[in-house]
């Protein structure tokens, strides 16, 4: 894992003291609310329905056990004993007091964390594959590049006041688990014919009220040119992106307006102009960063373990856990374990302080002290020996963290919605809870198979409904919560936009409608076909007929 150098420490600590001064000046009345608002937002502090909300960055979703314990401490000491892991691999606290926030930031800085780049029109926290560095299917671990982008983008003077917020995601594997095509810039690690590492560069993806899938503007940019090319993209956007209308200000609107070819030409021109003055990252610094992400020192172990096989044969729930929550590591005899934060009836993405402490302890015991956060709002122990799975599963199950539903219909992404968020129009969490309860039977869940449900409480799409195999969007119709049903989206390498099926439903009707959609799928699927494959083969009509006939 990356460790701060003296420069990192200094800028984070300086920022904490600067914010402490700003809070004090606000509380004394020296600063007006209008003056203070942009300052608090630059430190991840929002004002939501019931209280302030502090969004803490978890760069590229990687945490140490020490950092996780600190997140637990903050939940206990300053909040209400829990935190919410988000679709941007961050954590949000829902109840901090303004006066406490400088101390929270100081506690975070102590473990090399902060809330910078979690708000405002800057380059936000870079996200990536939750299995980075621990999966056999990647060309290269994307985290050293993500860290380099973090260092380049933090407090970048030219890009601190962009037309709108700007999100970059990077994957090192062809299987896209970071939804890169739904980002302002998506980077896919590629190897050229000469065997050199570089990146396919996609631009102009995004959700919100105008969902757009990013387009490739360069098939391969060598790794040495990455920052220079990113700078050229940002410069074109900063100069030409709209600032007159916040709903038209994202880069996707500019790319759509110009056409991706024209946009690519502008970037190329800018890059050719500036590439002779490259952003010169010293080789020693690159080596320093890479060393933090060296392959984990794991012993090669047998792929099979008799105790694991025996428990799987005798314990149906462990068998399901093995099938759904466990995937192979790049080192034989090891696995990545996904800890579902989607207990049936629970709040997607929420974890109590005790659960966070437990995950930290389990990471120390079984995963080299390392934890990941996925954009699907789950936690991952990336480096677990297969032989340790029975013990680990037992410990997780005792604490309500053993739900064996990863990738299944109850592993639902849901934004905080109208239960917490000032922007929301409808509640998301109760819909997720009711759906999970409706599909509570593990045998049924497994029979349905992979099915990604994603719920947003407003058009801003923090719940990724556009990318859901089944997407649900909550809207406000004359003060009533109404839920639209969308089908056919994907956030993976085969990205697609979900389409609205028809008129919306009330909170009970939407659960019935999803059940009808699932029934149509089960009736129509061919051997081994997943939900999305069936949908793409038969189209929306059979689903539409069944849903609205039954409604």
């Amino acid at each position: 894992m990356y460790a701060y150098d003296p420069y990192d420490k200094e800028i984070v600590n300086t920022r904490v003291e600067e914010f402490r001064d700003q809070v004090n000046r606000r509380l004394s009345g020296e600063l007006t609310e209008e003056e203070f608002r942009p300052l608090r937002l630059m430190n991840g502090l929002y004002l939501q329905l019931h209280a302030y909300m502090l969004r803490v960055a978890i760069p590229y979703g990687t945490l140490s056990s020490v950092q996780m314990r600190r997140l637990a401490l903050i939940a206990r000491k300053y909040d209400k004993g829990y935190g919410h892991f988000t679709t941007r691999q961050n954590i949000q606290y829902n109840w901090p007091k303004l006066v406490d926030t400088p101390d929270i930031l100081l506690d975070l800085a102590d473990v090399e964390m902060h809330a910078i780049q979690t708000s405002g029109n800057c380059i936000r926290n870079v996200t990536t594959d939750q299995f980075s560095g621990a999966t056999a299917d990647e060309i290269a671990d994307p985290r050293p590049y993500a860290e380099l982008i973090r260092q380049w983008s933090t407090f970048h003077p030219e890009f601190s006041f962009l037309p709108r917020k700007f999100k970059i995601a990077i994957t090192g594997a062809p299987s896209d688990r970071a939804a890169v095509k739904w980002h302002d810039i998506g980077l896919v690690v590629r190897k050229n014919d000469a065997g050199d590492i570089g990146f396919e560069v996609l631009v102009g993806g995004g959700m919100g009220r105008t969902p757009v899938i990013a387009k490739t503007i360069r098939d391969f940019i060598p790794e040495a040119d990455l920052l220079g090319y990113l700078e050229a993209i940002l410069r074109v956007y900063n100069e030409q992106g709209r600032r007159d209308n916040k709903y038209k200000a994202r880069i996707k609107i500019l790319v759509e307006a110009l056409g991706s070819d024209t946009f690519a030409d502008l970037v190329e021109k800018e890059w050719q102009t500036t590439r002779h003055h490259p952003i010169d990252v010293p080789e020693a610094e690159i080596k320093r960063i890479e060393a933090f992400f060296a392959p984990p020192p794991l012993e090669v172990l047998p792929e099979q373990d008799p105790a694991v096989d025996e428990l799987a044969a005798n314990n149906f729930l462990f068998h399901a856990f093995l099938k759904n929550n466990v995937r192979p590591h790049k080192v034989p005899g090891h696995v990545n374990v996904t800890i579902s934060l989607k207990p049936h009836g629970g709040i997607p993405g929420d974890a109590t302080d005790a659960q966070m402490d437990l995950v930290a302890d389990l990471a120390d015991t079984y995963s080299l002290g390392e934890i990941r956060v996925s954009h699907e709002q789950n936690l991952i122990l990336p480096h677990v020996a297969r032989r340790d799975l029975p013990e680990l599963y037992e410990a997780l199950s005792r604490s309500g963290l053993g739900t064996a539903n990863v990738g299944l219909i109850s592993d639902i992404i849901a934004c905080p919605g109208l239960d917490y968020c000032a922007l929301a129009n409808a509640r998301s969490i109760p819909i997720a809870q009711n759906l999970a309860k409706r599909f509570d039977d593990i045998t049924r869940l497994q029979d349905i198979g992979e099915l990604k449900v994603k719920i947003s409480g407003c058009i801003n799409s923090c719940g990724h409904h556009h990318a859901g195999h089944i997407g649900i969007l909550g809207v406000d119709r004359k003060g009533e919560e109404v839920y639209q049903l969308l089908l056919g989206g994907s956030g993976a390498e085969d990205a697609s936009k979900a389409q609205i099926l028809g008129p919306g439903f009330d909170e009970n009707g939407i659960v019935d409608a999803v059940e009808t959609v699932v029934a149509v799928y089960l009736g129509e699927r061919q051997d081994g076909e997943k939900f999305l494959e069936t949908y793409r083969r038969i189209g929306a009509d059979p689903f539409k007929e069944a849903v609205y006939e039954a409604h």
Binding site: E33, L49, A51, L98, I347, D419, P430, G479
Partner: protein
Amino acid sequence: MAKKPVGPQMILANCLREGRALFFGRDGAWHAEPALADVAEGDGLDALMAKARAFADANNVIDPVFIPAEQKDDHYYPAHIKHVMQAKGPSVRPDLGYQVSPDWERR
């Protein structure tokens, strides 16, 4: 010029220190309980907001806005679900928020 809200309105704001939702009361103070809120409509709105702003600045209360109110029994309450949520707390955490009690944070 912004359109004046239609129908009975109350004023909702946030406490600067804690961020909690507060309603401008008939007694000129800020309360967590919407039943204590002052209500006006039509020509009375400007006077109510002027009074609330004066009390907001003096009490570290921020961002006062009109919200629609509806009468139930003898009191007015927020009409829109968003403001109902603000008055109570998250529906998915009935152990948190003012639905527990008006002074739940201090208990």
